[in-house]
Amino acid sequence: MNHQDIAAVRGIIRSNRRWDLFFAAAGFVALLLGVLAFVTLFGQMVLNGWERLNPDFFMSFPSRRAANAGILSAWVGSLLVMLVTAVSAVPLGVAAGVYLEEYAPKNLVTDIIEINVTNLAGVPSIVYGLLALGVFVYAFGFGQSILTAGLTLGLLILPVIIVATRESLRAIPVHVREGAYGCGATQWQVVRDHLVPYSTPGIMTGVIIGLSRAIGETAPIITIGALTFIAFLPASPISDTAPFINFQWLTSGFTVMPIQMFNWTSRPEEAFQQNAAAAGFILVFMTLMMNGLAIWLRYRLRKSISW
């Protein structure tokens, strides 16, 4: 190889290395853009909504005067809707996940269910709203109630819980099952006493991620026709006379955090934008906390379990 060739090869190497560096920089910039977007989003809401973040804001009903308006009915509504969502979606999702992973025979029906779960995850959330409007509100006659909203969001997050359950069941080694069967356990005993308890942290992660998605969902709840001006609380789920629990609240009208925020966002007055910022801050804070908890759970899980 003569001198010129070596110089040319070195030139090629140099240019390739430059590309390397250039791309690493591009990747870094892309990431920074993401961080920047998030920081502006969060920072703007904090700056704009800071004045409104006081105890009164949490303890007041919405009002025509922005300075008096609060999110009492919104956060109570969100809490109750999430309760219905969790109670409906968690047992269903875990049961479906257990069936598909542990019981289902390899046949056409199982294939259909599996393809269906995958496809449901890709259905736009507003279509769930239409389903709920047609079926829950009118066909079943549940009305525009907490029950309807909770069930709708339950269906929406069902695929998330099913997938999380299946993944954590799959991570349990086969010898756990074989050991239990070897001692004479039935399939249900294996599932109840071993598989479900061992996969609980993984399932919890999925449940939390699903609920954090549900709590921020706006479109399906608007679609079922939830009112936006609610200046009352649903009947309390706990009463002081026997049987101490009542279900009147299930049929009550309601509003939730994201709808309250949407309502304020769509008003032109600056003062209502402040309320929207404060509500948005609380909403993002809640979803971040829930997601953070899920990430932490998964991290713990990866560290602590070795089969």
């Binding site: 598909l100 449901l120 069902l158 099913i162």
Partner: protein, 308 residues
């Protein structure tokens, strides 16, 4: 065994029988739980088809597909889906123009360039970004991105598909980057080692070996991004304006299919009226659109799947 009383044997048998019955009953319950998801799909298809059928009794399908005006709430209503469809397509294109390059670059960076420690921090952060409610992104588009864009382009209106689309793109980046990254991680190490042994740089390995090997996964990530963009509702409802507009110019306000559903649902339309039925026809169009992309994604995955 001859010394065992006969009753004891039948007792054990009957216990075994009841145990079997219980096991099968539990299996049935679990199966019913799993079939709820199929019922959901059937419910969606049924309700969309039934209400749309009533809608198309009043509105000819041909008008629906070709009319360029969507004014269902006017005294002389026109029902052409095209303006809404163009709104959906335009905002989705703007979003993809942001999300596809950003998401791909981030995915390659995390998978091929970043150290494990950086990855440990960045992946959860992206997940957090993906968990932010879309109404918050809508607020962000309206109060931050629109004014910033107007500062650079003073002629831009306060509501525009550009602002909504840009923010929608940011909202989709986490989906695309995390799915693409999973696909690239799944490429076997031996391929990378081969490339490095031939003297490739990281960039060459990433773009000429890993990306082509993972292309089916990356493409399905894009397809998922598209169906997210098409179905996205709150960002466009807040920031893109609420008038149907027969245009593909992103600098103009417009309404998307999903935003129309929200607008009608916010009002108080009586059950069974044509306005009520029109949101189901709009929802059906949305479903057909996302179904189309899902099928395309499925075909792409089959066509380009590499097995190792």
């Amino acid at each position: 065994m001859s010394s065992t009383p006969a009753t004891a044997v039948s007792d054990r048998l009957s216990r075994k029988l009841s145990r079997n019955v219980r096991e099968r009953a539990i299996e049935l319950v679990l199966f019913l739980a799993a079939s709820v998801s199929v019922l959901t799909t059937l419910g969606i298809i049924w309700i969309l088809l039934v209400e749309s059928y009533h809608f198309f009794e009043h509105v000819p399908l041909w008008d629906f597909l070709t009319d360029t005006m969507w004014t269902p709430l006017f005294s002389e209503p026109r029902y052409g889906i095209l303006p809404l469809l163009l709104g959906t397509v335009t905002t989705s294109l703007v979003a993809l123009a942001v999300a596809v390059p950003l998401g791909t670059v981030i995915a390659i960076f995390i998978s091929e360039f970043a150290s494990p420690r950086v990855r440990e921090v960045v992946k959860p952060f992206l997940e957090l970004l993906g968990g932010v409610p879309t109404i918050v992104y809508g607020y962000f588009a309206l109060t931050v991105v629109s004014p910033v864009l107007q500062y650079f382009f003073p002629s831009l209106p306060g509501f525009s598909m550009l602002a909504a689309g840009l923010v929608m793109g940011i909202a989709i980046v986490p989906y695309i980057s995390s799915l693409s990254e999973d696909a690239m991680r799944a490429v076997p190490m031996s391929l990378r080692e081969g490339a490095y042994a031939m003297g490739s740089t990281r960039f060459q390995t990433a773009v000429r070996v890993v990306l082509p090997a993972a292309i089916s996964g990356v493409l399905s990530a894009y397809i998922l991004g598209i169906s997210r963009a098409v179905g996205e509702t709150m960002i466009v409802a807040v920031a893109a304006g609420m008038q149907p507009n027969f245009t593909m110019n992103p600098a103009e306000p417009a309404q998307t299919i999903s935003a129309y559903i929200v607008q009608v649902a916010m009002g108080d339309l009586p059950h069974g009226s044509i306005g009520y039925q029109s949101i189901f026809a709009a929802g059906l169009s949305l479903m057909v659109l996302t179904l189309f992309f899902n099928v395309v994604g499925h075909l792409i995955r089959r066509r380009y799947r590499e097995a190792y």
